[in-house]
């Protein structure tokens, strides 16, 4: 769980599954971290940084860990 650099959240589960289909080599899908949201959606944990070309209409936000919290980068 700690071997990630960024977390991508999505508006729908479909958005997350679609992201994995396209960028599966650099991401793992897991539930959105509770410390990030009280929703029970699916998030993509990314190694490296998200390229803006990877962002589509299903992406809700991109976050990086900052101390005990999160910093929104998009």
């Amino acid at each position: 769980m700690e071997d990630f650099d960024q977390v991508v959240t999505f508006h729908t589960h479909y958005g997350a599954l679609r992201f994995r289909k396209r960028h599966g080599s650099i991401c793992t899908l897991k539930p959105v971290p509770r410390s990030l949201s009280s929703s029970c959606g699916t998030a993509a944990f990314i190694r490296g940084a998200v390229d803006m070309s990877m962002v589509d209409e299903y992406v809700e936000g991109i976050y990086e860990k900052e101390g005990d919290g999160w910093r929104r980068v998009m």
């Binding site: 508006h11 729908t12 589960h13 479909y14 997350a16 599954l17 679609r18 289909k21 396209r22 899908l29 897991k30 539930p31 971290p33 509770r34 009280s38 929703s39 029970c40 699916t42």
Partner: protein, 351 residues
């Protein structure tokens, strides 16, 4: 503490609370049942007149207010609305019809399993099948649409209404119907029921515990985090039932149940499919309604309406004998309606 341990701890709290509530007077294997308790509340409010299932269950009030309070404290209270409220009402309605044909929500299904009721095992297969069907739609783009920000008044309307009715229940009980026999007459003292509901509401809000979400996550993303709560409820309740001599393994003569396997399976298939479409099981809908989601409040109102219809039109199963013709037809219609809504809301997109 890792998320998996937190979810499992919340599950253990719920499982133990359920066993304690039975010890204090709730019906056997029904320490908690969201569907049954909403149905009992609908009866207490005279939305239906089935005399054995009328009681304004404080557990439901506690769950909603526990979620509301803890979400306000932690900044998770976010009033939002606009994600297909009428469809959510109808899906909630269908979920309740399925639950009352089986005689329990997913939470009671686990509690029945922990009491040795093997009819719940058949229902679990149906629940998994329904979630599997829902996952097919999710993976093809199913969505009820995005919710938008709503006003604070909108977000607090549901918890406030629950509070008002509960105060009325305490202050002027003569306004409400009370069962004098049957499951509705069996209940823990009000303060204990409310306290248990608050504890469950807080635990479930902090961990996002959901009976459907755990199985959905295994199917969709092979993640077992949320399933830990499901398993912990079972283990805690099983230990509690064994310790208090309330475990009885078998299909026959189980408390508030029947052994019509096809209808147990199909009833919970409807519940599983509907829960995936709503984004969570009936317990999760109460939690989200407490967090300010008007859409989930609509689903809960749909469940209450479904419960009233289920008893006014003889759709609910009878303990021992199972559902009659009306109930069987209603479950089939509910499943067809859920599939139609799912298909209509699944956008086929290139991937």
């Amino acid at each position: 503490m890792s998320e998996r341990i937190r979810v499992a701890a919340a599950g253990a709290v719920i499982g133990l609370a359920a066993v304690l509530l039975v010890g204090f007077g709730n019906p056997q294997n029904m320490g908690f049942c969201i569907a049954c308790f909403i149905r009992d509340q609908a009866g207490a409010l005279r939305l239906h007149t089935a005399p054995i299932v009328q009681y304004f269950r404080p557990e439901i009030v506690g769950i909603v207010l526990g979620s509301f309070a803890i979400s306000v404290i932690h900044g998770d209270f976010r009033p939002r609305s606009g994600s297909s409220p009428v469809l959510r009402f109808l899906i909630g309605f269908a979920v309740m019809v399925g639950a009352l044909v089986f005689l329990g929500c997913p939470l009671r299904m686990v509690l029945r399993l922990a009491g040795g009721d093997l009819n719940a095992l058949v229902a679990l297969l149906g629940f998994i099948a329904g979630i599997g069907i829902g996952c097919v739609f999710l993976s093809r783009g199913f969505s009820l649409g995005r919710a938008g920000q709503a006003s604070g008044v909108e977000g607090t309307a549901f918890p406030a209404s629950m509070t008002f009715l509960f105060v009325l229940f305490l202050a002027v009980p003569a306004l409400f119907a009370f069962s004098s026999s049957g499951p509705g007459s069996m209940h823990a003292p009000v303060a204990i029921s409310l306290a248990a509901g608050l504890a469950v509401g807080i635990a479930a809000e902090r961990t996002r515990l959901c009976m459907a979400g755990g199985i959905r996550d295994i199917i969709l993303i092979r993640d077992f985090t949320l399933l830990g709560g499901f398993a912990a409820i079972f283990i805690a309740a099983l230990i509690g039932n064994l310790a208090t001599g309330r475990f009885s393994l078998g299909f026959a003569d189980q408390p508030v149940s029947h052994s019509m396997h096809l209808w147990n399976f199909l009833g919970m298939l409807a519940v599983g499919l509907g829960s995936v479409m709503l984004g969570g099981c009936p317990l999760r809908q109460l939690i989200l309604a407490g967090e300010g989601s008007s859409d989930s409040a609509c689903a809960v109102l749909g469940m209450a309406a479904g419960a009233a219809f289920a008893h006014n039109f003889s759709l609910a199963a009878s303990a021992g004998t199972g559902p009659g013709t009306n109930g069987k037809v209603a479950v089939v219609i509910a499943i067809i309606m859920l599939l139609a809504i799912a298909a209509a809301r699944t956008a086929r997109r290139e991937s």
